[in-house]
Symmetry: C2
């Protein structure tokens, strides 16, 4: 019997609406203007609880900051190693056969697969080129 207070709901809504995969602090920064008495601890606590529920997911730790996702269905991410941007790659999915083979090869009951591409995003590439002139 979870009460889904305004603030918890706001955190969840934000995660559902954004495609940014924000960190705890990013969420705090975005919600603080709307809920001026929001505290960072509340954001952390709710992220943790929602994560344990399976209501939200942790995508990755980028630059020491954990990043969260309102989507819990398995999907692929691309992560920019320069600016930390994370984008969804919905079209790119793992062949089901690989999952099976992974389970056999490891003797694990596989819960899910994590597929991430790490590289440099278009913007950072441009920034680099301009910087290089």
């Amino acid at each position: 019997m979870k009460r889904y207070s305004k603030k918890r709901q706001a955190i969840l809504d934000l995660l559902h609406e954004t495609t940014e995969h924000p960190s705890a602090e990013g969420i705090y920064r975005q919600l603080k203007p709307v809920y001026p008495d929001l505290s960072l601890g509340t954001v952390y606590r709710n992220l943790k609880e929602l994560g344990e529920d399976g209501t939200i997911a942790s995508v990755a730790v980028v630059n020491d900051r954990e990043r969260f996702d309102g989507r819990t269905d398995p999907h692929t991410h691309a992560i920019c190693s320069e600016c930390g941007k994370i984008v969804d790659l919905d079209g790119i999915t793992l062949p089901a056969e690989l999952l099976l083979r992974a389970g056999e090869a490891s003797d694990f009951s596989i819960t899910y697969a994590k597929l991430q591409f790490v590289g440099v995003c278009g913007e950072c590439r441009k920034a680099r080129e301009n910087g290089g002139i």
Copy 2:
């Protein structure tokens, strides 16, 4: 001109010989008996430097602890969500075509792909079953 002191070499050797993907503290625990004056800070410092070199790699952060690998060639891992065990899955590789498509779909210059399977290892599964009786 890196001097590869005994301790640095020992850390690197350990990472080359083991398949355990240990954490900083795990390495410290294993080497401390051999080098009684080894300090945890030294392990951290060397892991960081070796990582920046590209001599070793960071596999994942499991239970808030970063895990390291002496292998730097891209390869797949299976991670047990209960005990944190990490095993290599050499046969399981990403179709090259997916990499290309990911680059196009994201407009990233992909540096590498990270493929990890998360699940419950055989041992933890057994432990569960026994516990459940």
